[in-house]
């Protein structure tokens, strides 16, 4: 009975795949274009979408005309083309304006941190400097290591006296990662202190042009 049902359903499944594979893959392509152009001006976004649509329309027609490809094959080839180009789509977006946006956001974050600093100094007498940040972070690191050790002790009682090498390794990795993270945060704070004096960064300045030898 079950086999009969599968045999009856198989042509229906194939038909559904044939009928919907192409619209689904086209929708995926459109969604991907929307995703990597997100945040651009509506004009740039619609132009990129139009450009891509025109390209893929030509591509589909060529496949049908030259190879006589079926809808489901076209759908797969379309998706394969998008996947092959994804890395470059992302890089294109990065080169277009994301690099500049990222620099702008980081600058504004630095300015915000710079604003927080005098408030802390005035109210708490605490200056947010590199060593202070590292001290706070070390506290965090120690507590984060203490938590698994305590839970281990709670679970095994007396047996927990000899902490396993595995746990030690885990703890060392956590300390190392915490210190690295803190150094990065400390550096950000340090940069934040002189952030206002720094000149703005643009994509052009960092030399992405062909003449400057970087792509």
């Amino acid at each position: 009975m079950r086999m009969v049902l599968i045999a009856l359903a198989a042509p229906l499944i194939v038909w559904v795949l044939q009928a919907f594979a192409l619209p689904i893959s086209e929708a995926i392509v459109r969604r991907w274009i929307w995703l990597y152009t997100r945040g651009m001006t509506p004009d740039s976004q619609s132009k990129k979408a139009s450009d891509a649509e025109a390209h893929y329309k030509d591509l589909k027609q060529a496949w049908i005309k030259d190879d006589g490809s079926k809808a489901e094959h076209i759908a797969l080839r379309l998706l394969a083309d998008v996947v092959r180009g994804m890395r470059d789509d992302i890089a294109w977006r990065w080169e277009t304006d994301l690099a500049e946006q990222f620099a702008r956001r980081l600058r504004s974050l630095r300015i915000r941190l710079h604003l927080v600093d005098p408030v802390l100094v005035r109210k708490r007498g605490l200056q947010v400097t590199g060593p202070v940040v590292i001290a706070i972070g070390l506290g965090w690191a120690i507590t984060s290591v203490a938590a698994p050790v305590m839970s281990f002790a709670a679970a095994f009682g007396e047996e927990a006296k000899g902490i396993s090498t595995r746990l030690l390794l885990l703890a060392s990795a956590r300390i190392l990662s915490s210190v690295l993270l803190l150094l990065a945060v400390g550096r950000l704070f340090a940069v934040g202190k002189r952030g206002a004096a720094l000149p703005p960064v643009s994509v052009a300045e960092r030399g992405t042009s062909w003449e400057q030898g970087e792509t």
Binding site: K47, A49, S50, D51, A52, E53, A54, H55, Y56, K57, D58, L59, A62, D81, V82, R84, G85, M86, R87, D88, D89, I90, A91, W92, W94, E95, T96, A99, F102, A103, L106, R107, A184, R187, L188, V191, V201, R206, T208, S209, W210, E211, Q212, G213, E214, T215
Partner: protein
């Protein structure tokens, strides 16, 4: 890590590659040579025609991916080796398709291609000489 350090790092991570000033990548050479061939027939060409031309030149059934091709075209346009403009909307409407971006190889582009081909020839000759000795 400051943005000054982070941005070039991320850019390289995402896929940009360093090269000598004025040096063209193989894909860019293909674009310029394919584009010039297309330009000999009509004044401008669009991306799909170019992808097809490159495919023919390389005798490959798989065309250059959309993202790869248009990123390279964008880079060449920024460098002034290619000029790009949007197609007249009326033409696109009459053919019932979305608007295309039309490209044209500039004089600088032609020169850059000639230079790249010359360098490639010289490199090939010196390689043959080196292998022969």
């Amino acid at each position: 890590m400051s943005s000054y350090l982070l941005i070039p790092y991320l850019s390289e991570e995402i896929g940009a590659m360093r090269r000598k000033p004025g040096k063209l990548l193989p894909l860019e050479i293909n674009i310029l040579s394919g584009g010039l061939e297309l330009q000999a027939r009509s004044e401008q060409f669009h991306g799909f025609a170019l992808a097809k031309k490159i495919g023919e030149q390389q005798q490959s059934r798989t065309l250059t991916a959309y993202g790869t091709l248009y990123r390279a075209l964008d880079r060449l346009a920024k460098a002034g080796l290619v000029e790009a403009e949007w197609e007249d909307p009326q033409i696109a409407a009459s053919e019932q398709r979305p608007r295309r971006r039309l490209y044209r190889i500039t004089l600088d582009g032609t020169r850059a291609l000639q230079q790249a081909l010359k360098e490639a020839d010289q490199a090939a000759v010196s390689r043959i000489v080196r292998e022969g000795t």
